[in-house]
Symmetry: C2
Subunit: 393 residues, 2 copies
């Protein structure tokens, strides 16, 4: 083949469901010279990453570190380490990622019971209780922030249900970590996973996970080895923990990037960061409402970092996305599975959650609608402006 | 916790078993702005990466792309996609990575037969034939370049054995790809995996794999789903292939880095690159011989990118490594498992394979020996110089 030229990425404003825009200092960190995965100085990076992740996860869990794969590898890590063949697992399903948890759990040999809710709606403690029907379960799994729909499921109330079922509580925090409060210890979560390319504004490639002492105990009491060698926490923990034993070669430069991304989160402060995400989301929603666009999730069950907009009747969803990409260099996401062609997904995550991006996206969507013959009556910018004015007052 | 300062890596010359020194333009590529994993422009990067990997692997295999994990994830990908519970698998074991293949295969439900050779020696076709004892196998697995010992096993002769056993041929090319000829099609390899942090001089984090048409067919004829959802090639191939269907969020910036690293390999030219690796290795070996240091693998079975040196009696192997790191900022590796404390492992891989590094490492080792009371009689620099002089003549 001919030698391709060096790649030069086009200008993009990443307002889809992830990746979000990477912070400039994170990009710089990625480009620092590679050192060895067992270098004494690299061990400091690892310890600092673990410490910062504990703060973000709201936990003191010893077993807290990033796995060497993307968010889906984090999901698989939690499930294959805790499931043995024949285990009963209860999974909340209100979108793609709940569905994926069922699939991953089944492949680990679990007997899966799905707790269904309409896509775009939250799941409640009673939904889980009813679906369990009095049976016992090893795991109760829930998606905190369902990236495929924009629905937020409250995790704290699920602890009581998990206790009734004798279950450990496993939570998907991929789109919430760093953008919404996550409090593993206060909520009584036993295992959680996330990704780096959402509210942390680090490129995709790592999956922070955290296991409670109880989950660690279950892990050590396994009768069979974990089916995945690569994701086996009994081995990976020896590298991240005291023995520093070689398991696999950690993705050094990606870990530089995560180190810097976590630093930026803590430098901003978690409360301030959550408030920024909430303010920009509310301004965006106000602008959408002014354009008479409807959101998939009701406000009380709605994610702050990711908003799903119903595609108005008669509109070509993909065409509007293409228009935004070509005319504004703005990337937004489409719907997945049954929601394909029915929603747009807009992420205002991490570095992407700015007033400028809210206005840019409203402007781009407005013109996208006009290009397909629908001129919004309301003024989205005034509506957004009011939210910002309130938050200053 | 207190906010840690930005990380600033120390100066290091990476001459261990990997990671190797990352090329400057690869570091720059890592720092390019993140774009979306479904961006039309990113699809070009993916296609170019696939094309370049085919050239490096010496294959026309359609199913050729990097998995989103490190080399060990590549190993697990090859094994879990091809093994179903109860399958008989024959694995060549002459070091850590053959041992690891047995472990991964067992966890996938295989009945594993190990073909043992002394650590530091190659395995031959007859070793496999004898161990098979006339039985049939689904897979014959071999490590081309055993990173834990520095032994090279010839792959081409194994095709005939695999045919006798009715087996597909699976090969670990982690430390050979880009540093030694790899010819999957000419050798009749059915599945191969590699890593990015050895002779490609890209940071760790991706695992190039390649499956032959026959292996693809076996994959599609599976009775059970692949036990790992994350590594399931029937799904991953839909993202890298025609449908471009979302599976997981690909590690965008790491793929920028691999794109550039592969470009550099092809820009240099494979023949030139292999010759450079061989020349520097021979010069290094000549220098070691002048210092009366013995190598673990006999020359005919020795890897070019990675050299294992026997630690002379009475020497503290770890102390010498520490000396090199502290006095010369040179990282070399130690032995693993039964070779712990018995060998040093020196990688002259990718960007690390230079005359300057050969001389630096000889100099550092010489002083390391002197510091422990053994002054080499021969002059390692003269000996190395002779090799370079020959290659110019």
């Amino acid at each position: 083949m001919d030698l391709p030229p060096p790649f030069q990425p086009p200008e993009r404003v990443l307002l889809g469901p992830g990746p979000s825009p990477t912070a400039p200092s994170v990009l710089q960190a990625l480009a620092l010279p590679t050192i060895g995965h067992l270098d004494p100085r690299f061990l400091d990076v690892m310890d600092e990453v673990r410490g910062m992740l504990r703060t973000l996860f709201g936990t003191a869990n010893e077993l807290t570190f990033p796995m060497s794969g993307t968010g889906s590898a984090g999901m698989e890590t939690c499930l294959v380490n805790l499931i043995e063949p024949g285990d009963a697992v209860l999974v909340g399903v209100n979108g793609v990622f709940g569905t994926r948890m069922c699939e991953v759990a089944r492949r680990a040999g679990a007997e899966v019971t799905a707790v269904e809710a309409e896509w775009g709606r939250a799941l409640t403690a009673d939904d889980f209780r009813r679906a369990a029907g009095g049976a016992k379960f090893k795991l109760l799994c829930a998606v905190h922030a369902e990236t495929s729909t924009g629905a937020l499921t409250e995790i704290a109330p699920l602890r009581a249900v998990a206790d009734e079922l004798g279950a450990m509580l496993v939570v998907d925090c991929v789109t919430s970590l760093g953008g919404l409060p996550v409090e593993l210890d206060a909520w009584g979560v036993d295992a959680a996973y996330s990704g780096t390319q959402k509210c942390l504004s680090c490129p995709p490639g790592l999956a922070p996970i955290s296991f409670s002492a109880r989950a660690e105990e279950a892990l050590r009491a396994r009768k069979q080895p974990v089916q995945s060698w690569y994701l086996d926490l009994t081995l990976v923990a020896n590298y991240w923990g005291g023995e520093r034993a070689y398991h696999h070669t950690a993705p050094i430069n990606m870990l530089y990037g995560l180190h810097e991304a976590l630093r930026l989160v803590l430098e901003e402060g978690l409360e301030q960061r959550f408030a920024r995400h909430a303010r920009n989301a509310r301004a965006f929603w106000a602008g959408l409402a002014a354009m008479e666009l409807e959101l998939l999730a009701p406000e009380a069950e709605r994610l702050v970092p990711l908003t799903s907009i119903r595609v108005p009747d008669g509109f070509d969803a993909a065409e509007v996305r293409r228009f935004l990409l070509e005319q504004y260099a703005v990337e937004i996401g489409g719907g997945l599975g049954p929601l394909k062609g029915k929603i747009w997904r807009v992420g205002l995550m991490g570095n992407g959650s700015t007033r400028k991006n809210v206005e840019l996206c409203l402007s781009a969507l407005r013109l996208g609608l006009i290009a397909q013959g629908r001129r919004p009556r309301g003024d989205p910018f005034d509506a957004a402006q009011e939210v910002y004015a309130e938050s200053v007052a």
